[in-house]
């Protein structure tokens, strides 16, 4: 640090980040007192001593880290000095910053603060290069440094947002969020978990009147999990807007917690257009970006255009990201090779039928297992339908300034538009059966925080080779 340079302290709310890491252990003394209820003073001191020492150590460490972390906004970048024993100093130039995220959750809004994350190509893949909590005024000042002439803001309608939240919600993530809360409802609020479960009795009995008790319980849990996930997703993506400000694509989202993400447009590795089968029924698609810093924030999908009709989506994409998505030459999977797309679900179906027959015929819980077996058949049937749909819609094509690839990823169809200068390389693979049929698999490799590859299978060999050569010639230019 130069003597004539003035450095500022970060916001005290940054203490919570260090304390959060040891949150459970800090609560341990309190939990211990509730569970074991020591009677005498000697017992209380004996039970608390080690835990209190640990809590004191963690708190002291957090306070010292906060006091020793300083920042300065220089004209060419942001300077940070941090570290208690091992002092670190760095200057992150604004030119090298690929993604900036400004995140205000409920707590930081209360204390007039904002979490700011900066990402460059040189950082770790799982966390941002710099993550600090700043005063909100300072965070906005940094934000203004990159602000310039804006394009019109793209807003998502409430209905589309509700539909998108519904499509993205899944019971498992809802359950992970709600199970700890439900479990402790009785101890915290004096409520029993059954009070919550009984609220979904009537809808289930209307839809499935003769359902067995086990399946009814499972259905209740799934519905509650899905509802919780839906509410979380909606609150995360409500008030979504996106616009172009000079070199940056700026997206803003969130109801209770606001998140602002600034991404450099020329650093984008790929633009993806996603839709699930259900979204396809509603003719809705969403667009996201792959770039340095994308996906690091928990639950972030790097969305730039949420649920939209395809024509409107492509038009808006051209406004935000200068990428012409009109496909000039396309290669699709060879007709008659749909079976190769169905191998995995058919093998799963065969294993399921065998297991169901074995347990229902010879097991002791045959009656209970029948309902479970009927429920378990649904995802396999869905998987088969999706794979047929994936076969019909997969392709690789070349556009004016990018290559496009539409392939499946689990149960989602993802269309990637990759600028030629961001493509790493292309491979064509043939197994002996494909050699005989004149088919091949083509894989496109790209890199953002890690190597990502997308494959389309069963393409006609000659056409795929010609297309690969055409893409390579554009890459060389």
């Amino acid at each position: 640090m130069k003597k004539n340079e003035y450095y500022n302290h970060i916001h005290p709310l940054s203490l919570t980040k260090k304390l959060k890491l040891s949150a459970l252990l800090l609560l341990l003394p309190i939990i211990q007192q509730i569970l074991y209820r020591p009677t005498g003073i000697a017992e209380i001191i004996g039970s608390m001593s080690l835990n209190t020492l640990y809590s004191a150590f963690v708190t002291t460490f957090a306070i010292m880290s906060y006091r020793r972390c300083l920042y300065r906004i220089a004209p060419n970048g942001i300077k940070i000095c941090s570290g208690i024993i091992n002092r670190k100093r760095l200057l992150l130039p604004f030119d090298r910053i690929q993604t900036m995220i400004f995140h205000e959750d409920i707590l930081s809004r209360l204390f007039n603060a904002a979490w700011v994350y900066f990402d460059t190509a040189g950082g770790r893949k799982n966390s941002a290069d710099i993550s600090v909590c700043l005063n909100r005024k300072t965070a906005y000042a940094v934000r203004k440094l990159i602000a310039s002439k804006k394009t019109e803001k793209i807003r998502c309608s409430i209905l589309n947002m509700l539909l998108m939240a519904a499509f993205w919600s899944n019971p498992v993530s809802g359950l992970l969020f709600s199970v700890p809360v439900v479990y402790h409802l009785k101890t915290i609020f004096g409520l029993a978990p059954n009070d919550l479960l009984s609220s979904v009795d009537t809808p289930i009995r209307h839809i499935l009147p003769n359902i067995s008790p086990a399946a009814e319980m499972l259905a209740k849990i799934m519905i509650i999990g899905w509802l919780v996930s839906f509410v979380v997703q909606f609150f995360k993506y409500a008030n979504f807007t996106c616009c172009r400000e000079g070199k940056y694509i700026v997206t803003s989202r969130g109801l209770a917690s606001r998140t602002l993400i600034c991404t450099k447009a020329d650093g984008i590795t790929a633009v993806t257009i996603d839709h699930t089968l259900i979204m396809h029924l509603f003719r809705l698609k969403s667009a996201s970006v792959f770039t340095i810093g994308s996906g690091k924030l928990k639950g972030d999908k790097s969305l730039i255009i949420p649920a939209e009709k395809e024509a409107a989506l492509c038009r808006r994409l051209e406004e935000i990201v200068p990428m012409n998505t009109a496909e000039l030459k396309t290669v699709s999977p060879k007709k008659g090779s749909v079976l190769s797309y169905l191998y995995a679900p058919l093998i799963a179906a065969a294993a399921y039928i065998f297991a169901a027959y074995f347990f229902i015929s010879f097991g002791e819980f045959a009656a209970q297992l029948r309902a479970a077996a009927a429920v378990a058949a649904i995802p396999i049937i869905w998987w088969i339908i999706f794979r047929v749909y994936a076969f019909k819609t997969s392709f690789i094509s070349i556009c004016d300034n990018c290559a496009a690839i539409n392939s499946y990823d689990r149960l989602t169809m993802r269309k990637f538009y990759i600028p030629f200068d961001k493509l790493q390389y292309i491979t064509i693979k043939q197994n002996p059966f494909q050699k005989r049929k004149g088919c091949c698999n083509m894989t496109i490799y790209m890199y953002y925080e890690k190597t990502v590859k997308r494959t389309v299978r069963q393409l006609p060999f000659r056409e795929a080779t010609e297309l690969a050569q055409l893409i390579r010639s554009h890459m060389r230019k």
Binding site: N76, G77, G83, I85, N86, R87, K88, R89, L90, L91, L92, P93, D95, R96, T120, A121, G122, G123, D129, Y447
Partner: protein
């Protein structure tokens, strides 16, 4: 280019490395004490082994490793050489460096040296034992080079 071709590593780095090995030797005393509880002979053997290793590291390994480690400017790049057994030479162009991190432990601060880390896309290179003044110069040169 300022200091082009000049060696940027400080001889004080050798002293710091020796101090660190000494600290490790002191810590090994606790381990030996623990072994002593179970077996006197084993504790004595361990102590002798640690002492031999200390002498080897301080008087043989450290100077050899220091002589094999270097960091110098080249034309629009930094040349880093390090490693005694597995020797490695890296030439890092300024245009590929995203940013630099200068870090100092208390021991390094006492002797006026620092550790410089160059972060590139997907990888990083660390050089230990550069004097603080040279670290600042490299950082400044990288920033100016990046602008031009």
């Amino acid at each position: 280019m300022p200091n082009e071709g000049k060696e940027l590593l400080s001889r004080r780095a050798l002293t710091v490395w020796r101090i660190r090995i000494g600290a490790l030797y002191i810590l090994s005393g606790f381990l030996t004490g623990g072994i002593f509880v179970f077996s006197h002979t084993a504790a004595l053997a361990a102590k002798i082994l640690f002492t031999v290793l200390l002498i080897l590291f301080v008087f043989v390994f450290c100077p050899a490793a220091f002589n094999k480690t270097s960091c110098r400017f080249c034309e629009r790049a930094i040349m880093v050489e390090k490693g005694l057994i597995f020797h490695r030479i890296s030439e890092i162009p300024f245009s590929k460096i995203e940013y630099c991190v200068i870090s100092q432990t208390p021991c390094e601060k006492l002797y006026g040296i620092s550790t410089l880390t160059f972060l590139c896309a997907g990888s990083f290179e660390t050089v230990r034992g550069i004097s603080l003044i040279n670290s600042e110069k490299i950082n400044l040169t990288f920033q100016k080079g990046e602008k031009s």
